[in-house]
């Protein structure tokens, strides 16, 4: 299968390791992976700020950049959700473009659910001796139904045990611009998330969305906690030796 990687702006800027982990996993699943150069962002910041015009312009750019691939895969539930669920809504009143958009949406996926549901991946060969907690990022969970797939693959990681996080499905308080528009409320939400993570006694916390991970890592570090924060793809791809956890220097 010819897969195009939707890098996401946060991965591109903050943590390319996640992009490379995604490529490694996709290739292990038998896909050929390309990275279209003309991609920048999915347009969610504009969309969620009510700027439909810019959201549409960026979406059209995505549409063109990702033409012709069997599948489009993003290591992020929120970006994949934007394309899969919200692009058709953005162009609902645009019959000229809508069919192309729906076609793109139908072949766009969040990474881990793509590996399990489409590629049929059942296990990985990675090893990581850790007790981990897993946070379910909201868009992936509620827009795309990503819940069992990461747990399934994590269960196959050698030496890894998963401590279920109470309130795993509760929002961490990132919400894109929300965390800077309403910092007090965001702080409360991420503090609650931190408290739940600490309660699991896990040595690491994982999730499938870098926005959540930056938020959670930032909070844990502010309080001096030594809990490792990584994207689930890094662990599944066995790349935990190559890059330090989020927010930790080399």
């Amino acid at each position: 299968m010819r897969v195009a990687l939707f890098v996401t702006c946060l991965v591109d800027f903050f943590r390319p390791t996640i992009g490379f982990a995604a490529v490694k996993l996709l290739e292990a699943a038998g896909c050929t992976v390309e990275v279209p150069r003309a991609q920048t962002c999915c347009g969610q910041p504009a969309y969620n700020s009510g700027d439909r015009a810019n959201a549409k312009a960026i979406a059209l750019q995505v549409l063109d950049a990702f033409e012709g691939y069997d599948h489009v895969v993003a290591p992020s539930g929120s970006c994949a959700g934007m394309i899969r669920v919200h692009y058709p809504e953005l162009f609902a009143d645009d019959p000229a473009v809508l069919p192309r958009v729906q076609h793109l949406a139908a072949r766009s996926w969040e990474l881990v659910s793509f590996l399990v549901d489409i590629c049929g991946m059942r296990k990985v060969s990675a090893r990581w001796d850790r007790e981990v907690a897993y946070h379910d990022a909201c868009s992936g969970l509620r827009e795309l139904g990503v819940r069992d797939q990461p747990r399934r693959l994590l269960a196959s990681v050698g030496g890894l045990s998963l401590n279920e996080l109470a309130g795993a499905e509760t929002c961490c308080g990132f919400g894109g611009t929300f965390c800077v528009k309403y910092p007090d409320i965001s702080d409360k939400m991420v503090s609650d998330k931190e408290a739940e993570i600490v309660k699991t006694r896990a040595a690491a916390v994982l999730a499938g969305d870098l926005g959540c991970l930056l938020n959670i890592a930032g909070k844990l570090h502010r309080h001096g906690r030594r809990i490792e924060v990584r994207h689930v793809a890094e662990v599944l791809a066995g790349m935990t030796e190559e890059t330090p956890p989020i927010g930790v220097r080399r």
Binding site: V7, C9, V11, D12, F13, F14, P16, T17, G19, R37, Q39, T40, C41, P45, A46, Y47, N48, S49, G50, D51, R52, N54, A57, I58, Q61, C138, S139, R142, E143, E169, T170, C171, G175, G176, F178, C179, V180, K181, Y182, P183, D184, I185, S186, K188, M189, V190, D192, L214, N215, A217, G218, K219, H221, R222, P244, I246, G247, V248, R249, R250
Partner: protein
């Protein structure tokens, strides 16, 4: 009711800093969601019923004029009266006129959000009529001169010590040495204090969870029995309600009732679900002599046929706010008006204007939990986004924010420039943060770094690294 929604940020901060409220909210979070989950587990058809509930409400809204007329005809046929009110003023005037017509001195009230919306209690008091709230939560906040903070549990923001303090202060004729340490004692005292007021009332005002067009009936759903005492004992029963409460048939009501209690409190059915149709019949030994329905519009008809129509499906269960992490952080009073939580974030701007209520649809991460628990599948985040679109179009956002967004979008539409910029900034920030791996503070990011560290980027952009790897691979 006076709105303080425009000071949402300050309200929220006050809520976050209030330890009693935070304890109360923690109790709520450990209560309602779990009970709802257990109730739904016992009903395998719940998901299917959500779809049906959604379609019943949609069908009714699409034909609302027909069902309103049918409802009215059936109310009249059963001996009741219907009053149509376009605005809060008209609704208040009708209620006053009915009260005056029977020389009413005391009015008891079952819980009615419509009555809150139009400020009915203050209006009646100003006109020399005592309005007594009888729902325990409403009674408590009436004594404290506070607005409700939740759709079904108006006093949820209080702990029992505060209720005890209020009762001591207000129930002056009782023995000051009495113990009020337990919720049981507080309930018993409220029951004893309110019983004579029920009996003395000239008029009883309730809300309506549903109006049934087929029979001209109103349905209230309570657990205390106060709504029933309110509507049965006085000479006059007034139903304060709004247009969108209609459902076509008794069977449709049964379907929605199966969704309501489970979604609200996790009960199989509320203790008292009562359907009223008209005044007492010849031969009845009790019941009101007059039955009035006040149908309020106040902006509902304007929501039909537009992008906010779906919020009119709301059956007032409160599941959305019970599951909302923002509500759980700041409490209901932060929203500043009658309706709080996610449904309040959508409905309030439509009733008091987006200029005043602008914060409400913005104070959301769009986590989507509200929509996932709504018994009638209202797409709440989508409608909050529609409000944001209105604000954007009407330039209601701060100029700095708009400028930042425009600049970012301008660059994002130019991939080559974007990639160069990302590479530049990730190198710069990666270099600046390489010693610690994160920043304790960062210019322009104070909202973030005030309370958390900012992880440093790895120092190269993915696109550049990928391009380099491709070139290296091609050379091999």
């Amino acid at each position: 009711m006076l709105a303080t929604s425009s000071t949402f940020e300050a309200n929220a901060r006050a809520g976050l800093a209030n330890p009693i409220l935070q304890r109360a909210l923690a109790l709520m979070q450990s209560g309602f969601p779990e009970r709802r989950r257990l109730a739904i587990e016992r009903l395998p058809e719940f998901e299917a019923l959500r779809d049906i509930g959604e379609s019943i409400k949609d069908h009714t809204l699409e034909h609302l004029d027909f069902y309103l007329e049918l409802f009215e005809a059936n109310v009249l046929a059963s001996g009741g009266q219907v009053h149509w009110a376009r605005t809060p003023d008209e609704a208040r005037a009708v209620v006053l006129q009915i009260c005056r017509s029977v020389d009413a001195k005391v009015v008891t009230k079952g819980k009615s959000m419509i009555a809150e919306e139009i400020g009915l209690n203050e209006y009646l008091e100003k006109n020399g009529i005592a309005a007594v709230e009888t729902d325990l939560g409403e009674y408590i906040i009436q004594l404290r001169h506070e607005p409700p903070s939740h759709l079904i549990a108006p006093a949820i923001h209080l702990m029992k010590e505060q209720v005890a303090d209020t009762f001591r202060a207000e129930h002056c004729s009782l023995d000051p040495a009495r113990s009020l340490a337990e919720a049981r004692q507080l309930c018993d005292e409220a029951r004893a204090v309110l019983r004579p007021r029920f009996l003395a009332a000239d008029v009883g005002i309730t809300g309506a969870n549903f109006l049934v067009a087929e029979t001209g009936s109103s349905i209230i759903v309570t657990n205390e029995g106060n709504g029933d005492l309110t509507q049965t004992l006085p000479r006059v029963h007034i139903v304060m309600t709004s247009l969108e409460k209609l459902v076509p048939t008794l069977e449709d009501a049964a379907t929605l009732l199966r969704l309501l209690a489970r979604s609200a409190t996790g009960q199989e059915f509320s203790a008292y679900t009562t359907m009223s149709t008209g005044p007492r019949r010849p031969g009845d030994l009790d019941g009101p002599e007059q039955y009035h329905v006040v149908l309020l519009d106040n902006g509902r008809s304007a929501l039909l046929g537009g992008e906010f129509q779906d919020v009119l499906r709301c059956i007032r269960c409160s599941a959305c706010m019970n599951h909302c992490p923002v509500y759980a952080a700041v409490g209901g009073h932060a929203y500043g008006w009658v309706y709080s939580g996610p449904m309040g974030a959508v409905l309030t701007p439509s009733l008091i204007g987006i200029a005043k209520a602008g914060h409400l649809p913005n104070a959301s991460t769009f986590c989507g939990r509200c929509e996932s628990v709504c018994p009638v599948k209202i797409p709440l985040p989508k409608m909050m986004r529609h409000w944001r679109e209105r604000q954007f179009a009407e330039k209601l956002y701060p100029p700095v924010y708009r400028a930042g967004l425009s600049l970012w979008a301008w660059v994002a539409r130019r991939p080559a420039l974007y990639h160069a910029t990302v590479e530049l900034f990730s190198r710069a920030l990666g270099w600046a943060g390489k010693d610690r791996g994160r920043f304790r503070s960062l210019p322009l990011a104070n909202g973030w770094t005030a309370v958390r560290d900012m992880p440093a980027p790895e120092g190269r952009s993915f696109h550049r690294l990928w391009a380099e790897r491709q070139k290296a691979g091609a050379r091999r």
